[in-house]
């Protein structure tokens, strides 16, 4: 056990630090929010710069646009870049989820062509799994792909697709057979998002923002050569993508602690910072142990991956704990501010109304990427090996499964 760098790692860190010093934007106290479109353009530019310098997708083989390094190098990169104000996680879904799917299932030619363009963010990718009637039960999806000649014709609707409006390609999971049981009737593809049969509509969130989209497919086409894996093998392929997603988002998801720690030291009530209040300290201690525990757990997982292991379902715990504490922290922060806590003006509320915004965005974090309840199921079944619930849809042909108010 050694939480410090090896000499080789220290060398890499120094190199990264030097490069960032010259190339990355320093953090400022009042960063100033940019529009979504500006943020996208900035991210494209940043990724290209990183790619040109050879730091993009550090763990990918060089021939596919990566740096051929280990997970630990990636951690070092992330630690260092986090000190700057750069959108380094902007295209995490493409690189973290879609990339490994291509790596595993695509042809050598596709990989050599597409992966470097993904690494440089020249091509933007999205992931198309969730549907209005397939949330926690992802395998309940209904978007249909039918083979006509050597093309698949896609009809249906996906939802909660981050970045679909900018995407060149998407990895999509479709139902290709409704006569077999639900897990056996799916197939995975990658699809050209810029074709006529694809319509992207933003979803307005409860906080007023629009980070996600609905995507409608109306006779969209996919050449069979863009199939990822076997026909009917989509569920296995999807699990591989989801496993990589956990690795990609681990340690990236906000838990609210750093901002809260800043707040309690700066917010003054009755002339002293609230951190002097023992009740606040009690909360601070609890949340710090969770924050530190998530961080250390992520590092343990990365150690395992660096040694050649697979990212385990254990990663679900960071998502679960972080999302819940993030919401409770935001709520508690407002409570501390009392009456004025309800004021959301950037200029008036502490930290540019971070906590007010967080209160309204936090529920989404508990839902995106699997609800709290799904995380607990994953831990119970995949980590602890507990028995599944009796399955109401077991062995049924997909078309016969009861579906209630979903249409």
């Amino acid at each position: 056990m050694d939480f410090k760098d090896t000499p080789e790692q220290a060398e890499f860190r120094k190199e990264v630090q030097a490069w960032l010093k010259t190339n990355a934007t320093a953090k400022t106290k009042d960063g100033g929010r940019t529009s979504q479109e500006e943020a996208y353009e900035r991210a494209k530019a940043w990724y290209q710069k990183v790619y040109d310098a050879g730091y993009a997708c550090p763990t990918w083989p060089k021939e596919y646009g990566g740096a051929g390094l280990t997970q630990i190098h990636k951690v070092i990169w992330s630690q260092e870049v986090a000190k700057y104000d750069e959108p380094d996680g902007y295209f995490v879904i493409g690189q973290g989820n879609c990339g490994p799917a291509l790596m595993h299932f695509a042809s050598e030619e596709q990989k050599t062509t597409l992966l470097p363009r993904m690494a440089s963010a020249e091509d933007v990718w999205c992931q198309l799994f969730s549907e209005p009637s397939a949330g926690s039960d992802v395998a309940g999806l209904r978007t249909k792909a039918e083979l006509k000649g050597d093309k698949w014709i896609v009809n249906g609707q996906k939802i909660w697709t981050s970045g679909a409006q900018h995407s060149d390609y998407g990895v999509i999971l479709c139902r290709t057979d409704t006569e077999v049981s639900k897990y056996r009737g799916m197939t995975m593809f990658f699809i050209d998002m810029k074709q006529p049969g694809v319509d992207v509509q933003p979803i307005k969130q409860m906080d007023g923002g629009s980070h996600f989209n609905e995507v409608f497919f109306n006779n969209a086409e996919i050449p069979d050569s863009q199939r990822l894996g076997e026909v009917g093998g989509g569920w296995g392929a999807a699990l591989l993508v989801l496993m990589n997603e956990r690795l990609a988002i681990s340690g990236v998801q906000p838990d609210g602690f750093p901002e809260f720690f800043e707040l309690v030291q700066t917010l003054e009530l009755d002339g002293e910072p609230v951190v002097n209040n023992p009740v606040v300290r009690d909360r601070l201690a609890i949340w710090y142990t969770q924050h530190a525990g998530i961080k250390a757990s992520t590092n343990r997982m990365l150690t395992a991956v660096a040694k050649g292991g697979m990212p385990g379902a254990e990663a679900a715990l960071g998502k679960l704990v972080g999302a819940v504490m993030n919401q409770d922290i935001a709520n508690y922060a407002l409570q501390l501010m009392a009456d004025t806590g309800a004021i959301c003006d950037d200029a008036l509320a502490p930290q540019k109304a971070h906590f007010q915004k967080s209160v309204l965005f936090a529920p989404g974090i508990r839902l995106a990427g699997g609800t709290d309840e799904v995380m607990r199921n994953i831990i119970a079944e995949q980590v602890l090996g507990l028995p599944q619930e009796p399955r109401a849809d077991k062995g049924m042909a997909f078309k016969d499964i009861p579906s209630g108010n979903q249409h």
Binding site: P363, T371, G404
Partner: protein, 370 residues
């Protein structure tokens, strides 16, 4: 001993619920939420015509001469319906402040006007974050002119008059200020629940009339806040009920893994916990309602208890209703966030949970010592 509302009170509640369920749908609430208006003026007018603002005003002062219990059941329905009207500001706060601090002549003049909805009142007390401290007021009155800045004033941007907390010769007191008069400027604030909008009020030598019967202002404010805390607790449990009902309806109708989402134990137990929190809050609110209506010495403790459990219950119910909806709960289109925003707003008016917990304990120890 009778720990329930009377049949008459339940009838008033049923009437209120029927009225609001047809006149104050969430589609209607959204008109205010989405900024088309600062409050629902036609709805407020109907509410005035129904006499709700007059409920707890004496008959000889133009009111209906009912009591706080009747106001509590109406509050529960306003909370359930998320009514986007200045009822809290004008009725629980301004009217009650006048009942507590104005002298007979002032009351005889103002209360009939409030009962009839001739003007909308609000309370302007808070100047900065944290619990209100009388010793730290920066708003002052000199020769009948009031100057200073108040923030987080509920419905302050649309109220006609404000009851303002200020000091005169270092003595704190309450003053009625006409907000359309000169020397007053106001600014709408972005509020976590736009259906309960906040404002900043700036006074620069505005004409102010002192509420003439304010003796011990700390006690008066405590009583005012205690009364409002009980009434808000009823708004909160109304909201808890609505959020729970919404979550139930959705998950009973939605299927996952071939069965109703509401049949999963994780969801059922989530709702059970929401119900438990709501019932504890409701029972504490009932106790508060009794203490309020009986003007009992237990009001301070009962009010703090009602408030603390109502804040916790509504936070829980409104956030877990979102959670039970899954992704759709996070959309603007679904109504889940209306309850969640309202839960936040109601918990912050009168100060948040930390300060009410401290009040609760002080009062519990005081009773024990007595």
């Amino acid at each position: 001993m009778n720990f329930d509302f009377s049949e008459d009170q339940k009838f008033i509640q049923e009437q209120a619920r029927n009225f609001l369920s047809s006149e104050c749908t969430t589609a209607r609430v959204r008109q205010t939420l989405e900024g088309e208006q600062a409050y629902d003026q036609p709805l407020w007018q109907q509410i005035v015509e129904l006499g709700w603002p007059a409920t707890a005003i004496a008959e000889d002062q133009g009111g209906l001469g009912l009591g706080y219990l009747e106001l509590c059941v109406i509050a529960e329905e306003l909370g359930r319906a998320l009514a986007p009207v200045p009822f809290i500001a004008s009725v629980y706060l301004a009217t009650e402040a006048i009942k507590l601090g104005a002298d007979k002549a002032q009351q005889d003049s103002w209360l009939p006007q409030l009962a009839a909805g001739e003007w909308i009142g609000c309370l302007a007390a808070q100047e900065k974050p944290g619990a209100l401290k009388l010793g730290q007021l920066a708003t002052t009155v000199t020769a009948g002119k009031l100057s200073g800045k108040k923030t987080a004033v509920l419905h302050g941007a649309i109220a006609d008059k404000a009851v303002v907390l200020a000091t005169e010769n270092d003595q704190p007191g309450l003053y009625l200020v006409d907000l359309s008069a000169s020397g007053v400027s106001r600014k709408s604030l972005t509020s976590i629940d736009p259906t309960l909008p906040l404002a900043e009020l700036n006074f620069d030598g505005a004409a102010a009339e002192k509420l003439a019967d304010c003796k011990d202002i700390q006690t008066l404010l405590d009583t005012l806040y205690d009364r409002a805390a009980v009434l808000l607790a009823f708004e909160q449990i109304g909201g808890c009920d609505a959020a729970l009902a919404m979550g139930k309806e959705y998950t009973v109708g939605r299927y996952a893994f071939g069965r109703q989402v509401a049949s999963f134990q994780a969801i059922k137990h989530k709702f059970a916990d929401m119900f438990v929190a709501t019932e504890l809050a409701r029972s504490n609110a009932y106790y508060g309602a009794w203490a309020l209506s009986a003007d009992d010495a237990e009001l301070p403790l009962a009010a703090a208890t009602a408030r603390v459990s109502a804040i916790d219950a509504y936070y829980q119910c409104s956030k877990e209703n979102i959670q039970a909806h899954g992704g759709m709960g996070f959309t603007w289109e679904f109504d889940c966030h209306l309850y969640y925003r309202r839960a936040q707003a109601l918990s912050l008016i009168l100060g948040g949970n930390p300060q009410w917990k401290e009040l609760l304990v002080e009062r519990l120890l005081r009773i024990k010592a007595a």
